[in-house]
């Protein structure tokens, strides 16, 4: 039962991954629609980042995580290298928690 559930989840996920890719090739997309697709992906990634920043389940995530992400986002905006952004965000959140701020 367990193995079936995992394999079905895997096949379903893979089908959605491959499905989008194949659909893109099959469809004759207008230029306007082609411009829309990366925009849609960016909106999804932004929503993913923002919800993962401020929410933990259906509650607010507290202070440490949003503060860490904010530091990272600020550095990214100042065109800091990706590695710096990621490490600074993690370090900020970790240090705040170490100081008892969650």
């Amino acid at each position: 039962m367990l193995v079936v559930a995992i394999v079905v989840l895997g096949i379903g996920t893979y089908t959605m991954r491959l499905g989008g890719v194949l659909l893109r090739e099959r469809l004759e997309l207008s230029a306007a629609l082609q411009r829309l697709l990366p925009m849609a992906a960016t909106a999804l990634l932004a929503a993913l980042a923002v919800t993962a920043t401020v929410m933990a389940g259906s509650d607010f995530a507290g202070i440490a995580r949003p503060a860490g992400v904010a530091v990272g986002a600020l550095l990214a905006w100042r065109r800091a290298p990706f590695v710096v952004v990621v490490v600074a965000a993690a370090a900020t959140a970790a240090l705040l928690r170490l100081a008892g701020v969650h």
């Binding site: 367990l2 989008g20 909106a43 990634l45 929503a47 980042a49 990272g72 290298p81 928690r97």
Partner: protein, 227 residues
């Protein structure tokens, strides 16, 4: 000569980014492996999930529901959470290559981070290299992390102590920031994010993020103003 040097330094930067994200993936993969074992699930469960499903969020959600004795809910919740891969696939398209082998293998490597890295790259040849480099790196590090978590159990520690829960959103923001310079994209992304956050307490996991696509409706207004 200068072009070659520039390419080399861009490649080095890409490898450095890949190494950073791989390190984070090993740590989070380890916590996934450790949690699955702590739930009392058989050892093969985290391994099978990390290779066959290969989607972090869905895997954490699914092991929780399986451990709670509800594998059917695990399947549905996981699929709902992964539905965003359809629009991701539409956006990425043939970046991974047009041969069947490329599409069949490449599609499995598609994750949020791979899509974000790929879309941040404008040159088609570099885009393709980015997709594959990130995809293979993340798949390898995620599975390596899972194995470490299963072996070490609780000794791997909590990723929150390391602040990794802040690292991933920050990384995604850094990657999409250049495309947010375009005003229409920015409006769509901000509105979409606000809708997703507002929907999070009321909708099941996965749906709120998909609701962000509603933000695309603002373009209707934009277009009318342009015309």
């Amino acid at each position: 000569m200068r072009t070659i040097q520039r390419t080399h330094s861009a490649d080095r930067a890409l490898l450095r980014d890949a190494a950073a994200i791989a390190a984070a993936m090993v740590a989070i993969g380890a916590s996934f492996g450790a949690i699955a074992i702590a739930y009392g699930l058989p050892t093969w469960v985290p391994f099978l999930m990390s290779t066959v499903v290969f989607a972090g969020g869905a895997q954490f959600l699914a092991v929780g529901l399986i451990a709670a004795g509800n594998p059917i809910a695990a399947v549905f919740a996981g699929l709902l959470l992964n539905a965003r891969h359809i629009p991701f696939g539409l956006a990425v398209g043939t970046t991974m290559g047009t041969r069947w082998r490329d599409r069949i293998v490449g599609s499995h490597l598609m994750t949020d981070e791979v899509v974000a890295f790929t879309l941040a790259e404008k040159d088609p040849a570099r885009r393709r290299r980015t997709y594959w480099l990130m995809g293979v790196t993340l798949f390898t590090s995620w599975n390596l992390g899972t194995a470490l978590g299963v072996l070490l159990g609780g000794a791997t520690g909590d990723p929150e102590t390391l602040g990794l829960d802040a690292a991933f959103p920050a990384g995604l923001i850094a990657l999409i920031l250049p495309s947010l310079r375009d005003r229409a994209t920015r409006v769509v992304a901000l509105l979409g994010s606000a809708i997703a956050v507002a929907a999070t307490p009321v909708l099941p996991a996965g749906l709120p993020v998909l609701c962000a696509l509603v933000g695309l409706l603002t373009l209707v207004r934009f277009k009318r103003r342009e015309a």
